[in-house]
Symmetry: C2
Subunit: 441 residues, 2 copies
C-alpha cells in the first residue's frame, strides 16, 4: 500500500494543472476549488464512466438534469428548511462562530477553539444554523423571494418522478440518474476537495415495489462497490460500512457507506440508502399532487419505495487520484506515476518529437498526432527533453508515449512506451491506430 | 423553411421528456427549466461536440472547470458589482417592479405594463438593480459574507490564466475553454429556455499577442459560425451580426453575434468579442498580482489580448431542436421528425422486438441491444405497436430502428429503418455492428 501524503497530492494537483484553489489570485474563497486542464478531463472521465455504467449500459435507468434553483417549497417538503442544520455557538471573547458539537470540554463548559476562552453553553446556548445557501430570485430582496441553492440533487429527481414516468412510459422497477452541482454552507470544510461548499454529486433514485426494496438495496450496494473496483481502486482500501440503527436518518430503512482509505482516514465516497416512500409521500402532501404509481398487474395505486445510491464526483475523483499515485526508484532517481485506469486517464497518448528543430520529424509527429485525435484524447508535447517529457506524462497518467525520431523518417516506425511497465517497442506507423485501439478501447 | 411554432416545440419537449418546467409540481419557479431523459442526452451531446471541437481536436486550447462561487473581489474587478445593472422602477399603484427601459410612453411619463397606471419617471426615478444573484458564504449572514453566483463563466478563466499558463508550459497564442452554469436575475426572462435565470455557457478565452488580435478575432468568428453549420443547422437561418460602434461595451474592440432565426425572431446564440487586455489588466490591478506574459522571442513582458467566443449551451440546444423539427405527410397521416445530426441525437439506435410475447424474439432483440450498447447509445422499446414505435423514435430523433421479427429467428437477419428516408433494409445480424459503425462513427 502506498503511503502518499495529502501534501504530495495537493502539490501535484497544482503543479501539473489538476486542481487549483478557487479565486487563488484573490486569496481564495471559503473551501472552493477549481479544476484545471488535467482535472477537468479526469472529472469528465469519472462522470462519463458513471453515466455509461448507470444510464447507457442499462435499460432500466433514465437520465435527468434538473436545475440548481428550485421552488422553495421543495425544501420545506424534503425537511431541509427545518432540519438541515448544525448547532452553532458564538464565542463572546473572540466573536467567532463555532460548531457546538465540535468544541472540546466537559458537558456545558467548552473551550473556544479560536481563542481558548470558556464558552458556557447554558448561558450561551447553541443556535441552529441552516446549511443551505440562500439567494433572492426576482426583483425584490425579501422573504418572499428567498430561494435556496440545492444542498442535494436528489430532490430534483423526486419532483420530476411523474414527468419521467409518463414521458418515458416506464414501469417499476426503474431509476432516474443525475449528475450536478450542490452547495452546503459547511462550517468546517476541509481535506482538500473532500469536503467543500460547492461540490458535484452523482445520484440515482431507483423506484421499486415496496416488497422488492430490500433485494434491490442489496444489489445496488454490490453494483456500486464493484464500480470503484472495476475502475482500478485498490481492494484493500475500499470497504462497506453499514449504518447502525441509531445512525440512520428517521426515514431510512437501511444505509451502507462505501468508504475509501484516504491519507486522512476511512471516509465516505458514496452512500446507498433504502429511503422507503418518505420522499414521494412528502412531495405528494406538500404539492397536493398524486404521485402514486399505478401497478397494472395488481390493479393498484401505491407510492414506490426508493433505493438511493448517492456518490460524490469530487470525492471519487480524489480517491482515484490518491489511489493511482505511486513513487518508485528507477535507475537511481525517483519516478512518480499516476496509474489511472485507461478510461479515467486525462490523456491517453502523448506524441513526442525527439528533435523539435527537425522539421521533418515535427511534420511526421503532427500528422500522427492529428490522425490519433480521431479516436483518442492526445497531447502533442515538445517543450522539454525526452526524459523529462516521459516523467511529466507519467506524473499525469498518460498511458502511452509515441516518440518520433530520425530513424522514424526512414523506417516509418515509432517508439511506443507503456506508462506502467516503461517498456518500449518499435511499431510501424501503419499499425499504430490498430495497436492503440486494442489497448485503449 | 419550416415554420414550427414554439408551442409545438414546448409541447414535444414535455410530452417526450426533453424539457420540463422546473419544480413543476409546485407551480414552477422563476423561468427555470429541467432537462428530462431526452434533453439531458441532447445537451450532453451538444457540450461533447463543442469540447471535442475546441479542446480535444486542437493543440492550442486547455480545458478548465472553475467553481460557480468566487471571491467577491472578482466581480468588483470585472465591473459587475458596479455596472451589471438594469434600471427598475416601482409602480405606486400596483406595487410591482418593472424595467424602466421596457415601459411604453413618452419621455418621462410611462404606462405601467401591469395595471396601466401612469408612472412619472421624474418624480419616481428608476433605480439600478444588480443582476447578480447574491448569497452568504460562511456562518454569518452580513455584508462581509456576501458572495455572488457567477453571472458568466469567463472570469473563472481570467483568474486562472497564470495557473494554466504555468502548469501547462504554454506559449501564446493559446486558449482556455470552459463549460458551466451561470446565473442572472433577469427581470424579463422568456422564450422557453432561450432566456432563463439559470443557464449553461460554453466559453473560450483565447490569449494572443496584441498585434495578432484582429486576425484571430476574424478566424474565431468563422470557426464558430461553421461549427453550427457542421452540426446541421440550416444555413439560411444562421447569420452574423457585427456590433455597431455605439453598441460595443466600453472595453471591447469588436464584437460579432451569431444569430439563429427562432420562431420568435433572430436571436443571439453566441458572441465573439475582441476584449483587448481589459480583463487581465483589471484583475492585475485589483489582485496586485503580475499577470503579464513573458514573450521569450521579444524578451518582453506584456498583457495578452483576448478573443472571447461565448456561446449558450441552452440556446444552442434549443436552436438544434427547433431547426431539426419537421412535419410531413406520410400515407395520409402526419409524421413529426427530429432530423438531428448524428452526433447530437439522444439515441442513435432503437431495438424493437416485433412480438413482445414471443420469448425467442425478445431474447434475440435483447442480445442485439446489449451488443450494440458496446459502441452506441441504444434504447430497447416494446411498449407499443411497431407503427407507433417508429413514429415515437422519429419524433425524438433516433437515427436507426432495428426490428426483430419471426423471420429473423430463421434467417438471422433484421430490418434496419432509416429515420430520414424511412427506407428499410434487411441485413444480417453479423454485419449489423459494422454497418452501423460506418453510418454513425
Amino acid at each position: 500500500m502506498s503511503d502518499v501524503s495529502m501534501d504530495t497530492i495537493v502539490s501535484l494537483c497544482k503543479r501539473r494543472g489538476f486542481i487549483f484553489q478557487g479565486s487563488e489570485i484573490y486569496g481564495g474563497v471559503g473551501s472552493i476549488w477549481d479544476y484545471g486542464p488535467l482535472g477537468v478531463e479526469l472529472k469528465r472521465n469519472v462522470k462519463a464512466a458513471w453515466w455509461k455504467s448507470v444510464v447507457h449500459r442499462r435499460d432500466d435507468i433514465e437520465g435527468l438534469d434538473a436545475a440548481i434553483l428550485m421552488n422553495p417549497s421543495v425544501w420545506k417538503a424534503s425537511g431541509h428548511v427545518d432540519g438541515f442544520t448544525d448547532p452553532l455557538v458564538d464565542c463572546k471573547s473572540c466573536k467567532k462562530r463555532f460548531r457546538a458539537d465540535h468544541l472540546k470540554g466537559d458537558s456545558d463548559i467548552k473551550k473556544c477553539s479560536g481563542c481558548g476562552a470558556q464558552i458556557n453553553l447554558k448561558e450561551n446556548p447553541p443556535r441552529l444554523f441552516n446549511l443551505m445557501l440562500k439567494t433572492f430570485l426576482g426583483p425584490l430582496e425579501d422573504s418572499s423571494s428567498v430561494t435556496y441553492l440545492r444542498p442535494e440533487t436528489a430532490q430534483g429527481i423526486f419532483v420530476n418522478f411523474m414527468n419521467v414516468l409518463n414521458s418515458r412510459s416506464r414501469k417499476l422497477p426503474f431509476g432516474i440518474a443525475q449528475i450536478g452541482k450542490s452547495f452546503r454552507n459547511e462550517i468546517t470544510p476541509g481535506n482538500f476537495t473532500f469536503r467543500t461548499r460547492e461540490f458535484e454529486q452523482m445520484e440515482i433514485e431507483y423506484f421499486v415495489t415496496p416488497e422488492d426494496a430490500d433485494d434491490f438495496y442489496k444489489r445496488w450496494v454490490e453494483t456500486r462497490f464493484n464500480w470503484y473496483l472495476e475502475l482500478g481502486v485498490t481492494k484493500d482500501k475500499l470497504q462497506l460500512r453499514p449504518h447502525g440503527e441509531n445512525e440512520l436518518a428517521h426515514y431510512a430503512k437501511a444505509c451502507t457507506d462505501i468508504e475509501y482509505l484516504f491519507p486522512f482516514g476511512w471516509s465516505e465516497l458514496e452512500g446507498i440508502a433504502n429511503r422507503g416512500d418518505f420522499d414521494l409521500k412528502q412531495h405528494a402532501e406538500h404539492s397536493g399532487k398524486d404521485l402514486t404509481y399505478f401497478d397494472q398487474t395488481r390493479q393498484q395505486h401505491y407510492l414506490p419505495y426508493v433505493i438511493e445510491p448517492s456518490g460524490g464526483v469530487d470525492r471519487a475523483t480524489l480517491a482515484f487520484l490518491v489511489d493511482a499515485y505511486r513513487e518508485e526508484e528507477v535507475k537511481g532517481s525517483k519516478r512518480a506515476v499516476l496509474s489511472l485506469h485507461k478510461d479515467l486517464a486525462p490523456y491517453k497518448i502523448a506524441v513526442l518529437p525527439l528533435l523539435k528543430k527537425n522539421p521533418e520529424i515535427v511534420e511526421m509527429a503532427k500528422k500522427i498526432c492529428s490522425s490519433l485525435k480521431e479516436d483518442f484524447v492526445v497531447k502533442y508535447d515538445d517543450t522539454a527533453s525526452i526524459g523529462k517529457l516521459y516523467r511529466r506524462q507519467d506524473e499525469i497518467g498518460t498511458l502511452y508515449c509515441v516518440t518520433i525520431d530520425v530513424q522514424s523518417l526512414e523506417d516509418k516506425q515509432v517508439t511506443i512506451r507503456d506508462r506502467d511497465t516503461m517498456e518500449q517497442e518499435r511499431i510501424s506507423v501503419d499499425s499504430l491506430q490498430k495497436y492503440l485501439k486494442e489497448k485503449l478501447l
